[in-house]
């Protein structure tokens, strides 16, 4: 094991290396999108505008999307902010969940089709315990009678309840270590929730946080495509045909669907 890994074999910070990688990963050829579209799909290519990413400056007018559609109580939303930031914290790669607007992303998701399990089978009888049944080696997933919105509300309030009980303060006011400890208890099912396993709520929270970090910015998260930039993911490119065979890493400005659809 080389010395830039910890005992788990995972990479730990090494700024020298990161600078090295940055320096060696310039785009070869520069203009990927434009040249290769070669007129085959003029309409779509024209829409894609791959070489003209929109200005990325912070808007001076308020962002009218940063208001709540689903959560009615500020308290619940504060817990959500703190919990998502624990799952995906700000670090020297870039912003965390709050900086990427993940809480607003989740709020919008819960207000829509997905929050009410609109494309899911919802007829009973429900057997929420089936996902925990120790007799089932491969438990049945997602048998809760609650929809995702209700699971989030119950889960966030439970996070807060546990925090108040253990540490005598609200979840968002607990320190980072305490918050992590509480989330771990949920992840490990050391907490009893009604109608859904604590670990199922945690899985939902984790997954939705990652979705908010990395989905197209049209959904309200991945603010200014900073989630994508951290991963050097270039978004909705029309084509990689001209560069996919090359060995060097190809770095491209990301394209959002706002740009792609034109």
């Amino acid at each position: 094991m080389t010395d830039d890994t910890d005992s788990n074999g995972t990479v730990v910070d090494d700024p020298t290396r990161r600078n090295f990688i940055k320096a060696t990963s310039r785009v070869a050829g520069g203009s990927v999108g434009g040249a290769l579209l070669g007129g085959v799909f003029v309409g779509q290519a024209a829409q894609a505008k791959p070489n003209e990413p929109k200005e990325q400056k912070q808007p001076e007018t308020p962002n009218f999307q940063e208001a709540r559609q689903f959560f009615t109580r500020t308290d619940d939303f504060e817990v959500l902010k703190a919990a998502t930031e624990c799952v995906f914290p700000e670090d020297d790669n870039g912003p965390g969940a709050v900086g990427l607007n993940v809480p607003y992303f989740i709020d919008k998701q819960l207000a829509g089709l997905w929050g009410v399990n609109g494309q899911d089978y919802r007829a009973g009888p429900f057997q929420p315990q089936a996902s925990q049944d120790p007799g089932h080696v491969q438990p049945h997933p997602e048998q809760s009678a609650m929809n995702r919105g209700a699971i989030f509300l119950n889960g966030l309030r439970k996070l807060n309840e546990v925090s108040e009980k253990r540490f005598g303060k609200r979840f968002e006011s607990a320190n980072e270590e305490q918050q992590i400890q509480i989330l771990q208890a949920f992840e490990n099912d050391d907490i009893d929730m009604v109608g859904v396993a604590a670990s199922d709520f945690f899985t939902l929270l984790r997954q939705t946080t990652l979705e908010g970090a990395y989905s197209d910015p049209l959904y309200g998260g991945n603010k200014n495509m900073q989630g994508w930039k951290m991963k050097e993911y270039p978004g909705a490119q029309a084509s990689y045909s001209a560069v996919i065979e090359q060995d060097e890493f190809v770095k491209l400005e990301p394209i959002s669907l706002t740009d792609y659809q034109g």
Binding site: T5, F41, D91, H140, L183, S215, Y240, L257
Partner: protein, 586 residues
């Protein structure tokens, strides 16, 4: 009140590859055909700006609307089945084109061994080699007999491929050259060759170049856009029912594709099917569409369910082994096939893995089917081992080495660091049928119209776990040879069993084919033995699952079924293929 419509020559359930191929071949001969498709109208114009991972890969917008209808699932005969509630656990096709619009396009043929699996196994190892409870059987057809239909499908779909050094006989080469070679494909191929294996490019229904098929349909060259599997192609560069066979059928003027038509019963008089009964999902009104020939091409689950709901054939009973409808449920399952394998993390090498196509990659056939001698193995059938570059999208790809936390600071750092620095190799393994894995109607749960859901019972056998472990071991060997710094390998514990996940859309059985009515529901033209004007087309007719993606074989059998139906029309009825044996129904 059910309104009876005017009779047509043939009525088909489903507009996927199976239904589309039959429709094209019948309408080309001048027969009037109606396709009843429960989903909405859908086509290329819906796919143009589809590069949205959340909408299509996390929320599965192109997949079956489970709020209307789903499956129930259990992994043992004494267990209670529960419904599959969310598309993360069931990626099933719907709407015009079915799953054929959002498939990857990995386009394999199956092996000569598959079609004669019982005889060839007995011949090579003796009957005692077949594990207790394994219900493999010969299909009633040989590879050589099926080969012309393989060729026909590959030409219709314009498959792009490289010759397989270990592949079965082909009457012609692939209609298009293989897809591009990327650095990671080269890495996989070189490592496999060094180990003595025989790598070749995945055959692909993403086009390596613009191509016009024999019916005159143009399919464009692939743009390598990385939004392919789970997405439709906005460039018309992925072969699909909508760009090929449905377009061909439309041009004849003999096809009417009726969307929002949810078929609930086959109308019949005990010996002949008289039509299909369906509900218009926009109005709630029910209709009967009479026809001379009725074709079920609604995929494995609804083909089986419609037979059971309509009281056609004898339902399979796992206790006695009697009956046939619902028998031999098999598939590729995510905890023993395709989604397990070896993941390599490379500390100092970044790859362009965010680029890709649905069927870009390479595989080896050294362990496929019975290519490797199984004398000393405690399982039958095998696995192909592939690396594919599909285009790693950022929500779904947050892989970290084992032992790393899955959230928080260390997770974030590692998932970002390794995002472009990890590769995955997976074995796609065969799955042999067993007497406890089957389909019937659920006693409790119903669909939105009040009809019982289909219940799937699936149990793994020891040989399935052993085959999976052998496959993962080869993945590990190749990944190490590829030079990964960390190689993480998936475990297949002894208690691994069916996980209620219907994710691969590779599922089979329910109305299987064979040599006669004693062991099968249909002949090799997909014609029901007991109801000669009813054809049940698709993976429902496959008596077992090979170690390859199935669609090319579904396509080949659909062409054969269409030939049978045209013959049925021209000869004025009768079985187009007689039973080989005459043991009578069991």
């Amino acid at each position: 009140m059910t309104e009876k419509l005017n009779k047509v020559d043939a009525v088909i359930v489903g507009s996927g590859w199976a239904g589309g191929i039959v429709a094209a071949e019948l309408t080309k001969k001048g027969h009037n055909v109606v396709i009843l498709e429960r989903g909405k109208a859908r086509g290329s114009s819906d796919f143009v700006a589809m590069k949205d991972e959340l909408r299509y890969s996390s929320r599965y917008e192109l997949m079956q609307d489970l709020s209307k209808e789903t499956l129930t699932s259990r992994n043992g005969l004494n267990k209670t089945a529960l419904p599959v509630r969310n598309n993360y656990h069931a990626r099933l096709g719907t709407d015009t084109g079915g799953a054929g619009d959002h498939w990857n396009g990995i386009a394999f043929r199956w092996l000569p061994y598959d079609f004669e699996i019982y005889s060839k196994t007995v011949e090579r190892y003796g009957a005692e080699k077949i594990p207790q409870g394994t219900t493999i059987q010969d299909w009633g057809i040989t590879y050589d007999e099926l080969e012309p239909y393989y060729d026909q499908y590959e030409k219709a779909a314009g498959i792009s491929g490289e010759e397989n050094p270990l592949g079965p006989r082909r009457s012609d080469k692939y209609p298009n050259p293989a897809m591009k070679t990327t650095p990671t494909i080269t890495l996989f191929k070189d490592a496999s060759k060094k180990l003595g294996y025989h790598p070749y490019h995945l055959p692909s229904a993403n086009m390596s170049q613009a191509y016009t098929n024999p019916d005159g349909e143009l399919i464009n060259g692939c743009m390598y856009c990385a939004f392919c599997e789970e997405y439709g192609c906005g460039f018309n560069a992925k072969s699909s029912p909508t760009v090929t066979v449905l377009a061909t059928a439309e041009k004849t003027g003999h096809l009417e594709l009726r969307n929002n038509a949810n078929v609930t019963r086959v109308a019949h008089d005990g010996t002949r099917a008289t039509g299909l009964v369906y509900t218009d999902t926009n109005t709630g009104k029910t209709y009967e569409q009479p026809a001379d020939v009725v074709v079920l091409a609604g995929f494995v689950f609804n083909n089986t369910r419609l037979l059971l709901l309509s009281d056609i054939g004898k339902p399979y009973d796992p206790k006695t082994g009697n009956g046939i409808i619902g028998k031999n449920f098999t598939g590729h399952f995510t905890n023993i096939s395709t989604y397990i394998g070896a993941r390599g993390f490379f500390k100092d090498k970044k790859f362009n893995t965010f680029m890709g196509t649905g069927a870009l990659g390479a595989t080896i056939d050294d362990f496929s089917g019975d290519n490797k001698d199984h004398s000393n193995s405690d399982y039958l059938h095998g696995f192909e081992v592939h690396y594919s570059q599909l285009g790693a999208r950022p929500i779904a790809n947050n892989h970290v080495p084992k032992g790393t936390p899955t959230w928080g600071k260390v997770f974030k750092k590692n998932s970002i660091y390794y995002y472009n620095r990890n590769l995955f190799i997976t074995p796609q393994s065969g799955f042999l049928p067993n007497k406890n894995s089957y389909m019937d109607l659920d006693p409790t749960y119903k669909d939105a119209l009040g009809n019982p859901l289909l219940r799937v019972t699936c149990e793994y056998q020891d040989q399935d776990r052993k085959r999976a472990r052998a496959g993962v071991a080869v993945c590990k060997q190749i990944m190490q040879q590829m030079g990964a710094d960390i190689v993480d390998v998936d475990d297949v514990p002894d208690d691994t069993n069916f996980n209620h996940r219907f994710f691969t859309d590779h599922f089979f059985g329910g109305a299987i084919m064979g040599e006669g009515p004693h062991n099968s529901a249909v002949n090799t033209f997909s014609q029901m033995w007991d109801m000669e004007n009813l054809f049940v087309v698709g993976g429902s007719s496959f008596p077992h699952n090979s170690n390859y993606n199935p669609t090319v074989t579904i396509g080949a059998f659909a062409y054969r079924a269409a030939e049978g139906i045209n013959k049925y029309f021209s000869q004025g009825g009768g079985l187009v293929q007689q039973a080989k044996t005459n043991k009578g129904d069991t």
